[in-house]
């Protein structure tokens, strides 16, 4: 799984670097358009286009029937039944391409979070770093030692949360940082990447130990040491402004990718 994560991240980083001269919106829009086109292609290749065309014609016929025989209740009712059946048929036909698309799309969106969901830590504002310890952790024992880059301060002692096996630190970056936090415990070490400053960049929220969780938390390799299950930095949400309005990046991504698919369907010869 780590290899898959690495490949997707590398591809996205290339796109990100390529469009780094422009506002984030530009990269996101181009990425969404390309995704829309790719998904359209997958839809065309994996769906039964002939059957879909037939079903669409049945829907059109049903709609025409409704308009023409508006004064004939029996025919209208029959047409409505036909429409419902055709729609169900269409959904069934769309299921196969949807299943083909679901996994790569979900993976892509998870990876895009690191680019568009999170913003680096603001300077001179405290932030929380939390480590979930493994089950054999004793809360009353001394906590892991956190070593920060020179431009990041640790505010006070950590809090050991017995109920959830967590240790939380408060850190304060006072100049831009793109460096590692180092945690030392029982002569073992583990690191977590941190980002702080104004410039939007690749920001990973959580580094994990479990293989399954690594799917949901890509961006950093899995934790190898056996004292921590995950390490998380609470980053603020990134802002995406379109015409002065705050828009969630995911909403914009889905709108643009769907619009791209609709615009390109004739050129690709795909029925959707």
């Amino acid at each position: 799984m780590e290899i898959v994560n690495w490949i997707i991240d590398s591809l996205l980083l290339v796109v990100h670097v390529f469009f780094s001269f422009a506002p984030r919106l530009v990269g996101l829009t181009i990425l969404a358009s390309a995704t829309g086109a790719a998904m359209l292609w997958v839809f065309g290749r994996t769906g039964n286009q002939e059957r879909m065309n037939q079903v669409k014609r049945r829907v059109q016929a049903g709609l025409l029937e409704l308009r023409v025989f508006v004064d004939e209740p029996a025919i209208s009712l029959h047409a409505q039944r036909g429409l419902i059946a055709a729609n169900l048929n269409y959904l069934a036909l769309a299921l196969r391409p949807a299943l083909w698309m679901a996994v790569p799309m979900a993976l892509l969106l998870i990876h895009l979070e690191a680019f568009y969901e999170r913003a680096p830590l603001p300077l001179a504002e405290p932030a929380l770093v939390t480590m979930r310890m493994t089950a054999d952790w004793i809360p009353s024992a001394p906590p892991p030692v956190l070593i920060t880059p020179c431009n990041v301060a640790i505010l006070g002692p950590p809090v050991r949360v017995a109920a959830s096996r967590e240790v939380s630190w408060r850190i304060l970056p006072y100049s831009p940082v793109s460096d590692k936090l180092l945690f030392r415990f029982n002569s073992q070490e583990v690191a977590k990447w941190m980002e702080a400053g104004d410039r939007q960049r690749y920001v990973t929220g959580r580094r994990v130990r479990s293989r399954w969780e690594a799917i949901l938390s890509p961006g950093e390799s899995r934790i190898r040491s056996n004292f921590a299950e995950w390490i998380e930095i609470r980053y603020p949400s990134a802002e995406l402004r379109i015409f002065g309005f705050h828009v969630n990046w995911l909403v914009w991504f889905l709108i643009v990718s769907m619009a791209a698919a609709l615009l390109l369907k004739k050129r690709f010869g795909v029925v959707i």
Partner: protein
């Protein structure tokens, strides 16, 4: 034809009049700073430490500013707002009483229920009506300025909740409630077995128990207006305490923060659900970790209305509070933001209170500088609460701490003087001064001793509020609020026994007794003056006026128990609470201050003259009911 000509002439005259006002007001500027509770004697004693006020005195003018009867902030600031005396604007105290039930009610605003609503299960969807409205009569001076095309910014004006409707930028000040609808209800959570109390004035004390180092605190929010039972809302704040260190982590609604011992959090936003996933309101609060070990002690401030998404109107235009928060960050919206109640209750120490009150002042100064910087023309009014609230807790005992607050405000005044330059008139006013509060007077106990009030069982004296044991069939008069005495009048009070014809006789007898009232410990007179509203006020809006207003001598004040209708055993006792300074006395004992960068025409200005001066400066005529004269 004649009719047409007449109409044209009238139209021409009206247009000319408006144009004339606009021309006179165009480009004019004025700055007014309201410093609640700034005392003339304290200022005179410390002029050397207050260079900007001293300079204003030397280069401009300094007078004592006569205050209202009674000298209470909502009353006094309402006079500044309207240019009327209390008989005009109808505010006589922090609390009025409902004549029928004799229960205390807010004097400044009232909430009304929707007139039509749709019931769906336990929920009640309001369809029309309902809301909150001011009880102050008269037009606010900035509404009048607005009508004449004068722009104004009126920031944190007291007794202006909900804010007077107009185009001006305004933010409500003292009188703005917290999310629970009170003037400020704090919550204190502890597992300390020594803390036995549950309710204290201004807050609640909640017993908690830690399980595996964790406890869940319910932070109270507003009553749910969307439910027929108005069930109280709350949000959960989970606290996890470190096993040995004096530090804890807090989790609420997806947000986390860490506090060390004796540390305040930043503002925490809380979303109170009214209809799950459909409707909610937002509040903000601050958390103070007083102690983590050996016992957990957590103080949570009253939940303020969130300025970024206010649940109630706190500004005009409505989105002004949001814009302000965007510019200066989140801020206190609660009218009285200093945590005096917690200090009084012994939950916060003096040092802790000072830290918190400095946060309020810092908030205030940040907003002041931002708005002063933005100010271009028209009127700029800004209000500071810190001198008043700190004087209540520090007066005459901790002068150096109080002087620090005066100094901070003096620096702000210096910035306003610089902004005003030579062409802009500047006024610095306070609504009243201060005096020590050494002895607490239980007015209801005095009334009982003098035969004006009776209990159903004379042994049932005590601190029980709301006249619990009063026998109304044998009671002629009762006290509620901080300066008011009411006759138990037949036809007005439910079960009233004093006929209208006897009212004056009862009042005169009572006034005589009050004038003779002496402190048995010192032999001093307790009451300086007694005021009859018909004589004291020019206005006749006396619906909520007390029948008699008691002007205490310096050092004496109505007790807290009196304010809410209790009848303790003794008539007078030493004030041993942390609230050691006050001003609810005879008004001539506690005048305010008036500084200006211009010469003043009058030697004895009054609060309502300020209103006339502001309108006069912009060439705007006084409105009906205004009684002041310009000081320039």
């Amino acid at each position: 034809m004649k009719v047409c000509l007449a109409l044209l002439t009238v139209a021409f005259l009206m247009t000319s009049a408006c144009a004339n006002h606009a021309t006179r007001a165009a480009g004019k500027r004025m700055i007014v700073l309201g410093i609640d509770g700034m005392d003339p004697v304290f200022v005179e004693t410390h002029f050397v430490d207050l260079p900007n006020l001293n300079q204003l005195r030397q280069r401009g003018s300094f007078r004592r500013l006569a205050t209202t009867i009674p000298p209470q902030s909502p009353v006094a600031w309402s006079s500044v707002i309207t240019g009327m005396d209390p008989g005009g604007h109808g505010i006589f105290d922090f609390v009025h009483r409902n004549p029928t039930t004799r229960m205390p009610v807010s004097s400044m605003a009232e909430t009304t229920e929707p007139t039509r609503s749709l019931a769906i299960g336990p929920y009640l969807i309001p369809l029309s009506g309902g809301g909150v409205r001011t009880l102050r009569a008269g037009r606010a001076f900035w509404q009048t300025l607005d009508e004449h095309g004068v722009r104004s910014s009126v920031i944190r004006m007291p007794a202006n909740f909900p804010p007077a409707e107009c185009e001006a930028d305004s933010l409500a000040g003292m009188g703005t409630p917290d999310m629970t609808g009170s003037f400020g209800s704090f919550s204190f959570y502890t597992d300390d077995p020594a803390e036995k109390r549950e309710k204290v004035p201004g807050g609640q004390i909640v017993r908690i128990s830690l399980r595996n180092g964790r406890a869940e605190l319910a932070i109270p929010g507003p009553p749910n207006q969307m439910r027929s039972d108005h069930q109280a809302t709350s949000v959960e704040l989970a606290v996890s305490v470190d096993p040995t260190e004096q530090t804890a982590r807090f989790d609420t609604q997806g947000r986390q923060f860490i506090l060390q011992q004796e540390e305040w959090s930043e503002w925490v936003q809380a979303e109170y659900s009214l209809i799950p996933h459909v409707n909610s309101v937002r509040g903000t609060f601050r958390v103070y970790l007083q102690q983590a070990h050996p016992y957990l002690r957590i103080y949570v401030s009253p939940v303020n209305i969130d300025p970024e998404d206010p649940a109630l109107p706190i500004s005009t235009p409505r989105d002004y509070s949001r814009k302000l928060a965007g510019a200066v960050g989140p801020y206190y919206t609660q009218g009285i933001a200093e945590e005096t109640s917690a200090f009084r209750a012994g939950i916060l120490s003096k040092a802790e209170f000072l830290v918190q009150s400095r946060k309020v002042l810092a908030d205030n100064l940040k907003m002041f500088r931002y708005e002063l910087e933005r100010f271009q023309d028209g009127l700029f009014f800004y209000y500071f609460s810190s001198v008043d609230q700190n004087s209540h807790m520090l007066w005459s005992r901790y002068d150096s701490d109080l002087l620090e607050i005066y100094r901070a405000v003096d620096r702000a005044i210096g910035q306003a003087v610089a902004k005003a330059g030579t062409d802009t008139p500047l006024l610095v006013i306070s609504d009243h001064g201060f005096a020590p509060f050494n002895r607490a007077v239980h007015l209801n106990s005095f009334l009982m001793r003098e035969g004006f009030l009776a209990l159903d069982d004379p042994s049932k004296t005590g601190d029980e509020e709301l006249f619990t044991h009063v026998d109304w069939s044998r009671t002629l008069a009762y006290a509620i609020g901080l300066n008011g005495v009411y006759v138990n009048l037949e036809g007005r009070e439910s079960g009233g026994v004093v006929p209208e014809a006897d009212k004056q006789m009862v009042l005169e007898r009572l006034a005589k007794r009050l004038a003779e009232f002496k402190d048995p410990d010192t032999g001093e007179k307790v009451v300086e003056r007694v005021y009859f509203p018909e004589e004291a006020f020019r206005g006749r809006n006396l619906k909520y006026s007390p029948d008699l207003l008691v002007g205490f001598r310096r050092g004496y004040r109505a007790s807290w128990q009196t304010a809410l209708g209790a009848v303790p055993r003794v008539v007078l006792e030493d004030n041993v609470q942390a609230w050691i300074g006050d001003h609810c006395m005879a008004s001539d004992q506690v005048p305010g201050v008036l500084f200006s960068n211009r010469p003043l025409r009058t030697d004895a200005p009054h609060l309502w003259d300020i209103t006339a001066s502001i309108l006069g400066e912009f060439g705007v005529p006084k409105t009906n009911g205004m009684i002041g004269r310009s000081v320039f």
